[in-house]
């Protein structure tokens, strides 16, 4: 493999990884605060992509406006899902919440099949994201710059929200001890609603970016990205936002490089990603950046 081809593959990998990263930071944030693995995250992402699609295709809005409306709508749906599905099992054992999340995931997928139809739809890529760029023989499309850029911006905003604002402080308090936080006079339900709104908004942004890179959307499009983002989040240490981003990038590059160096295994790249998950869980269950689990005496 020549240096030029290696660089091309690296760019391919980073371009893919930035998408995983974008979906993973929302995934990990909800977990970090609520200790809930929101398996429906990928499907919320699908909703975001569809809302954006309907925004410009049916209501003929400019693309940026339909993207913003889609993100807002999706975060409202996120709050609704929390109120309807997760709130009733808040005090139940954690496994109940996990099962509920899987239920929500299946519900959204089949809801999508019924309402949007099972036929994949073409997603219009705004010109800004579709420009071809060539640098020293390495070719890429402008989304390969915009997606990592947006991921970085969202990451900074999210870090600011969690660590520098009052609501962020409340979120961190909820993640430490929900009951005590309630006793301190903080409206825990409101904090959780905000958490879901932000998580779902990130999912919607991820879904839209996903549809820009792979301009084809269908009601089941969220399943694989959801799982990959989960792997990325676990890889980076689930609950850690920066770790999830790193995990996403690394997963993307590993996937592409597997295909590049072992073309015979190209059909098994998902299997390789999942094997990675198993290996991490076996040897470093807290991930790259994960907190150390300290035994309480």
């Amino acid at each position: 493999m020549s240096f030029g081809e290696f660089m091309q593959q690296l760019v391919n990998g980073i371009s893919l990884g930035s998408l995983y990263a974008l979906v993973a930071i929302g995934y990990t944030m909800v977990y970090g605060i609520l200790r809930l693995i929101n398996f429906a995250h990928g499907d919320i992402m699908m909703l975001g992509a569809y809302f954006a699609f309907f925004g410009y295709a049916v209501f003929v809005l400019p693309w940026w406006l339909s993207f913003i409306i889609a993100i807002v709508l999706t975060s409202l749906v996120g709050i609704l899902i929390d109120k309807v599905a997760y709130k009733p099992v808040r005090k139940a054992p954690r496994i109940s919440a996990l099962m509920t999340a899987i239920g929500v995931s299946f519900f959204l997928e089949n809801f999508g099949l019924v309402v949007f139809g099972g036929v994949p739809r073409g997603f219009h890529r705004p010109d800004m994201f579709g420009k071809l760029i060539t640098v020293g023989g390495v070719r890429f499309v402008s989304y390969s710059i915009y997606i990592p850029l947006f991921t970085a911006i969202f990451l900074l905003l999210l870090l600011f929200l969690v660590y520098k604002t009052k609501i962020g402080m409340a979120m961190r308090a909820v993640s430490k001890d929900m009951e005590t936080t309630r006793l301190m006079g903080i409206d825990v339900d409101f904090v959780i609603s905000v958490t879901f709104a932000v998580g779902s908004a990130l999912a919607a942004a991820g879904g839209i970016m996903w549809a820009i890179k792979f301009p084809q959307i269908n009601p089941l499009m969220g399943i694989m990205p959801g799982l990959k983002a989960f792997i990325a989040a676990v890889f980076g240490g689930i609950g850690d936002i920066t770790g999830a981003m790193l995990g996403g990038f690394i997963l993307g590059v590993i996937e592409i490089m597997t295909v590049a160096f072992f073309p015979d295994f190209a059909g098994y790249r998902d299997a390789i990603a999942f094997s990675l998950l198993i290996i991490i869980l076996l040897f470093k269950p807290t991930g790259l950046m994960g907190e150390k689990i300290e035994e309480k005496v």
């Binding site: 493999m1 020549s2 391919n12 070719r139 301009p215 084809q216 190209a266």
Partner: protein, 379 residues
């Protein structure tokens, strides 16, 4: 209260089943089609053809034909479930389906065991009918289709080298790739790169970057339209200028809805082109299809239509709606003048007929792609 509800459900189910079994004067056919999932467009197209056939030819032997449609969600396991549901619960006498070869391979053995004949409209992999008595098809098979693609690459495009990107999860794609490779190398061409993907993959940049290094004249992508559209889009973005050829799995307007202008120039082998229609039934089909759906008929609709018609023809010749008798009549089908050409069923249950080569071109006025007829290649 809850128990009462349960009994009501049980009651409805029992009566429903009895009702369906007792209904007289109706010939019940089944259809296993991908109405949702990866190849949903094919299910929808096939069903549009079957519905048109039901509208134009609603009866056989003086009885009404009813087609029970079951969605297999483009999935192998769901196809098997659908087949056993049609055989055991719906009590159908013959089945149309499935579309994807891997799905027909999953549904076939179940119907074979239940001794119910199945006619697949579009599964082209040879294994689908191999060694089976109850499985038939109205389409050509992949060895022929792969050969036609190779002839087109060597003789029309004068290609010396070819690369392939194959969806490893589909029996159809793997089979087609092998037959193309065999025919292409036999005619003096050289395969310079073989890469793989999986159904549902969306990123092919790694495979395409590897292919680009070998500078092939032709890239054969015998996959379904969803993957093909994304492959072409990414290939053009990576600056690959080679000719792309695909199989009948590429034919769907989702191709340009997803891939835009990147899919222009893709050539593919297929079963049906309006311009190649010669039979009376074919002309009627084209005319009525425009009338009912207000658009040009896709190949899958034509095949769905033929699958229905050939079963209806078999029932009429057998003078009975008994599955065994339908089977022997189907296997004796000779010179049936269908929409997609003259169909002869050979001893393996395969249809022997010609193939059509089509190409994607861009219609500037309508600002969308369309399929352009290139040539007919006979067996």
């Amino acid at each position: 209260m809850r128990k009462l509800g349960l009994w009501v459900i049980v009651g409805v189910l029992v009566f429903g089943l009895m009702g369906s079994a007792l209904a007289a004067g109706v010939v019940r056919l089944g259809a296993v089609l991908p109405m949702t999932g990866a190849v949903a467009a094919y299910g929808q197209q096939t069903w549009s053809g079957i519905k048109l056939a039901m509208k134009l030819y609603p009866t056989v032997l003086g009885e009404k034909i009813k087609v029970v449609l079951v969605d297999n969600k483009s999935d192998k396991v769901e196809s098997a479930n659908a087949a056993s549901r049609l055989a055991k619960e719906e009590k159908v006498v013959a089945v149309i389906g499935a579309v994807a070869s891997s799905n027909s391979l999953a549904a076939g053995p179940i119907l074979e065991k239940a001794h119910i004949p199945m006619v697949t409209p579009a599964s082209t992999n040879p294994l689908v009918t191999q060694g089976k008595h109850y499985i038939f098809r109205v389409c050509f098979i992949d060895p022929f289709q792969g050969k036609v693609a190779a002839v087109y690459a060597r003789k029309v495009l004068h290609a010396k080298t070819a690369a392939m990107l194959i969806d490893r999860a589909q029996d159809y794609c793997v089979g087609l790739a092998n037959f193309f490779k065999k025919a292409f190398t036999k005619m003096g061409g050289k395969i310079v790169a073989v890469t793989y993907a999986q159904t549902g993959d969306q990123d092919f940049t790694a495979q395409l970057t590897a292919i680009k290094r070998k500078h092939p004249d032709v890239i054969y992508i015998p996959n379904y339209y969803t993957e093909d559209a994304l492959v072409l889009k990414q290939a053009r973005e990576l600056g690959i200028k080679a000719h792309f050829i695909s199989g009948d799995g590429a034919q769907a307007d989702a191709l340009w809805k997803v891939g835009g202008k990147a899919v222009v120039g893709l050539a593919f082998t297929t079963h049906f082109a309006e311009k190649a229609v010669t039979t009376k039934l074919g002309k009627q089909f084209v005319k009525e299809y425009y009338k009912v759906y207000e658009k040009s008929p896709p190949a899958l609709a034509a095949l769905g239509f033929d699958a229905y018609m050939i079963i209806r023809d078999a029932i009429a010749r057998a003078k009975s709606a008994n599955p065994e008798k339908i089977r022997s009549a189907l296997s004796a089908t000779k010179g049936f003048k269908g929409v997609t050409g003259i169909i002869n069923i050979d001893e393996h249950g395969n249809a022997v007929k010609s193939a059509v080569m089509e190409k994607v071109v861009w219609n500037e006025k309508a600002n969308k792609g369309e399929f352009k007829f290139v040539t007919v290649i006979n067996p």
